[in-house]
């Protein structure tokens, strides 16, 4: 019925994109620059470590370094960053994730060993790896629920709300641990397998950089799977769309029928649940449910998210970008380790990296904003 209108048009209003542009669009221009930065950084680290004549596991391109040092080191922060990405895309912030990870860590260990909070469940579940993992995740999700309720029902600014719960949950983790002491899980090999296990350890793969093939860490596989799942959630589901819309313009999203409170609560539960899982894995790696396990991790996670191209104002960002940024931060830390910088230098570097990442993100927004307000101002 609209033929009389469209036929006479000289140009179709919707043009098709070229293949190359589609590819760039698919990867995203921001992600391309991240990949570029990553390549540069890797080259820098290998060249510099070559000068220092490092050998064996101290070489960047060695199985030992790639799988054992790098791939495992990025997992915990990576998981936290993936959850944080969702929150930041929605235009909010979750500072409490480090403490939530501590809670998850203690809860998982307690359930596993049957002490503290775990005692009452002990007869039923103790020793079950599955229930220990589930308990850690659920504990995290409950912490997220608390965050979500504070933000949506009490209308507290997300930054302030989660700053408060950062402190509260940290204390809570100590209260959960019997007498505030770490809960050891050393005797539970099925559980510590989560951190020490390897897939494909026997695969016939030649040595690299003078070290033997070690297999792919279970930890790394878990991280990749979670990142992939959240990527799918954000890209292909109505929940993901709602998150992007809320971050871009909450009023417009609400008027389009999105239940802001529900989405925000679910979002905090998701971020909390992932932080809980990170806590569980921390327990497996350190072989103890320690209430200080997660302390300070939120800073690294938030750094990675902003480095990954998420906009501080919300509405923009991708899980893939965060994934790349996590690797970038990992390589940076790894390189500094290889070259023997101490942790204090690394902390200084990380702090400045956060500021640089946000500054870049702000610059990008300011430019886009300028164009937008100009366009906006007019019509």
């Amino acid at each position: 019925m609209s033929d009389n209108v469209t036929i006479t048009r000289t140009k179709s209003p919707v043009k098709r994109d070229g293949a190359l542009r589609r590819l760039i669009g698919f990867i995203g221009a921001d992600n391309l620059s991240l990949m570029f930065a990553l390549v540069v950084l890797v080259l820098l680290v290998t060249v510099v470590s070559g000068w220092f004549g490092l050998s064996g596991g101290n070489r960047f391109f060695s199985w030992q370094n790639l799988w054992n040092s790098l791939a495992q080191a990025i997992v915990i922060v990576g998981l936290l960053a993936v959850g944080e990405t969702v929150v930041i895309i929605a235009g909010a912030l979750d500072i409490s994730i480090g403490s939530v990870a501590s809670v998850g860590s203690v809860v998982a260990a307690s359930v596993l060993v049957g002490v503290g909070v775990g005692t009452r469940l002990a007869s039923l579940l103790a020793g079950s790896v599955f229930f220990a993992v589930a308990a850690g995740i659920i504990a995290g999700a409950l912490c997220g629920l608390i965050n979500g309720l504070i933000v949506t029902q009490l209308r507290v600014n997300p930054t302030i709300a989660t700053l408060g719960t950062l402190a509260a949950f940290a204390g809570f983790a100590f209260l959960l641990a019997p007498e505030g002491k770490p809960v050891g899980v050393l005797t539970q090999p099925a559980f510590t397998w989560l951190a020490q296990g390897r897939f494909l350890a026997d695969a016939p793969i030649p040595p690299l950089g003078g070290t033997k093939w070690t297999g792919i860490p279970v930890l790394t596989v878990i991280f990749v799977i979670v990142a992939l799942l959240i990527h799918i959630l954000m890209t292909y589901t109505d929940f993901g769309r709602a998150i992007y819309a809320i971050g871009g313009n909450a009023t417009a999203a609400r008027l389009a029928g999105i239940n802001l409170s529900r989405v925000r609560i679910l979002m905090y539960m998701l971020s909390g649940g992932i932080a809980g899982l990170a806590g569980v894995l921390l327990t497996a790696r350190t072989t103890s449910g320690n209430p200080i396990n997660g302390t300070g991790l939120e800073l690294q996670a938030i750094t990675a998210v902003f480095l990954g191209g998420a906009a501080t104002a919300g509405g923009k960002g991708t899980i893939f970008g965060t994934f790349l940024a996590v690797i970038l931060v990992g390589v940076l830390n790894n390189g500094m380790n290889l070259l023997g910088f101490n942790t204090f230098v690394q902390r200084v570097a990380l702090g400045f990296l956060l500021i640089a990442a946000v500054a870049i993100s702000q610059g990008r927004q300011a430019r886009a904003e300028h164009v937008r307000t100009r366009i906006a101002a007019q019509d």
Partner: protein
């Protein structure tokens, strides 16, 4: 402003393609020569040459996305042209920011001028240029000066000096922006769709001012989609299509139809005719609704009816829509959908009850500017497009593409950021979203604001079709002709009340205006946000 050296200035004088080009050249003419501007995938302007002459009102007209605003942004120094030059009196101008353009006496007035909220009128006018040391004495002198210049143009009443920035209506905001321009000796003044949120009376006052400035020798550019307004006001008309200048005509020598043909490249032969299809089934009834903005509003909408809501800006129509939609709260009164009383506290509940609402303020309430056309258009129907919460991509694309084609949204692709579309095209994306929803009751708040003639006709057809499919449509518009043409029934609102209901032959322009201004003197309801105290401001 940076001026290139005189040696570099003279370019090949290319004669502009207008009839009067042979007239002796006036001093102070802004010459645009061979200006082009491209954005990724879009040639926004292609080789535009045009003279903007002092003492003349020149209209820019063209479809949504034709390039009008982009040309103004180049004149204002917001964008730099890819190629081409601007010059005044043989002096090449190259602006790197609006500040440069202002210094050269060029001012572009956007529809939403930047106004500082907590600051009074005088300071808003002098913003950025206030004397460094602000003693009481100079402050008084400043006020006196502003008062005098307001009086000079006859705006003492329209723009009370004691109002703060956030109390100004959109007409008053424009006035502040115009006063800013006047105080610094403007030579070229451009107005981008200035009248789209003004009442008729405000439009008249604006025109008086614009004509006066023209007679004082200011060169004026006037951008609008209202062809009649343009024919009434302007001396010459520049018609743009797809980024090119297709014609420049003397206003006295063209007809409305001719302009439309030049704009869209074809005849808009079809005359829209509403085919009333109202039934007896009431889809919406509101009885005795009270809120911060309303005092006892009662009305009903039947299935298949288009019900117009007329009234002055600030009469409470938008707020009424929002109260029904659950975005604002009511203090008392009942709302019935399909005969059932409903209690709605949030927009998603309203949607679940079968109510849709396309808001008028597309940037603040309508669109997620940083996301794509696709995501914006499908936002309200995600549930329907999803299976197990997974959005079915192909279905989504084809659904949205249908609406985008039919509403003639000009966009390089469905994945373009909505914020990068032209204003009218953004408005179409909001409409596409809500037309796709097909609720029982659809509330459209100023749906054709900023939309070109061709697309307007298409939107009327859409509304007509939807009503004939049995939707009840609440149609809020400040354009009288459009309300009269499209509505089966009209409610007129004023100051938070319905002052009358008109149908059939009784629905005339005079009748609507009479009801819209029925009790000018009654006090505003408590809590009314608008400072529209004289009924109209300009």
């Amino acid at each position: 402003m940076t001026m290139t050296s005189p040696a570099a200035a003279p370019r090949n004088p290319v004669s502009p393609p207008d009839a009067a080009a042979s007239l002796p050249e006036l001093r102070g003419t802004l010459k645009i020569r061979n200006v082009s501007k491209a954005f990724p995938n879009v040639q926004a302007l292609a080789d535009i040459s045009l003279d903007i002459r002092p003492g003349e009102i020149l209209a820019f007209i063209g479809e949504n996305g034709a390039g009008k605003s982009t040309l103004l942004k180049i004149i204002n120094g917001d964008y730099q042209p890819d190629t081409g030059t601007l010059s005044i009196d043989e002096q090449a101008l190259s602006f790197s920011s609006p500040r440069d353009a202002h210094a050269a006496g060029i001012r572009v007035i956007y529809q939403e001028p930047e106004i500082v909220p907590g600051v009074d009128v005088a300071e808003n006018i002098w913003i950025g240029e206030l004397p460094k040391r602000m003693f009481l004495f100079s402050r008084l002198r400043l006020n006196e000066q502003v008062r005098r210049s307001l009086a000079e143009y006859g705006f003492e009443n329209a723009l009370p000096m004691n109002l703060l920035g956030d109390q100004l209506s959109s007409a008053q905001r424009q006035l502040v922006e115009i006063m800013r321009a006047l105080k610094s000796g403007v030579q070229v003044l451009a107005l981008d769709e200035p009248t789209s949120s003004l009442t008729d009376e405000e439009v008249d006052r604006l025109f008086t001012l614009v004509r006066r400035l023209r007679d004082e020798g200011v060169a004026i550019i006037y951008v609008s989609h209202r062809i009649r307004e343009i024919l009434r006001l302007c001396d010459r008309i520049a018609i743009l299509r797809d980024g090119s200048l297709v014609a420049v005509k003397q206003a006295s020598e063209v007809t409305e139809a001719e302009i439309v043909r030049l704009m869209v490249g074809r005849d808009l032969s079809e005359v829209f005719q509403r085919r009333p299809a109202g039934t007896d089934h009431e889809v919406l009834r509101v009885t005795d609704l009270h809120s911060n903005w309303h005092r006892g509003v009662s009305f009903h909408i039947n299935a298949g009816e288009v019900v117009g809501f007329a009234g002055l800006v600030g009469a409470g129509r938008t707020e009424l829509a929002k109260v029904i939609f659950g975005e604002l709260t009511k203090t008392s009164g009942r709302v019935l959908v399909d005969g059932q009383e409903v209690s709605i506290h949030r927009p998603d509940e309203a949607i679940a009850k079968g109510i849709g609402f396309a808001p008028e303020d597309r940037k603040r309430e309508g669109l997620v500017l940083v996301r794509s056309v696709l995501e914006n258009a499908s936002l309200a129907i995600l549930r329907r497009l999803s299976r197990f919460h997974f959005v079915r991509g192909r279905l989504e694309r084809s659904t949205v593409a249908g609406f985008v084609e039919r509403l003639r949204v000009r966009t390089p692709s469905l994945d373009q950021e909505v914020g990068k579309l032209s204003g009218g095209n953004q408005q179409k994306v909001v409409l596409a979203r809500w037309l796709a929803v097909k609720p029982k009751i659809l509330i459209l708040d100023e749906p054709t604001r900023g939309i070109d003639v061709g697309a307007k006709a298409e939107i009327y057809h859409f509304i007509d079709d939807l009503a004939n499919q049995g939707l009840g449509i609440m149609f809020i518009s400040s354009e009288l002709p459009e309300i009269l043409r499209l509505s089966d029934r009209i409610y007129v609102m004023q100051n938070g009340r319905i002052t009358g209901e008109l149908t059939g032959a009784s629905a005339t322009e005079e009748a609507v205006l009479g009801l819209a201004m029925a009790d000018q003197l009654s006090a505003l309801p408590t809590g009314a946000a608008t400072p529209n105290r004289e009924g109209s401001i300009l």
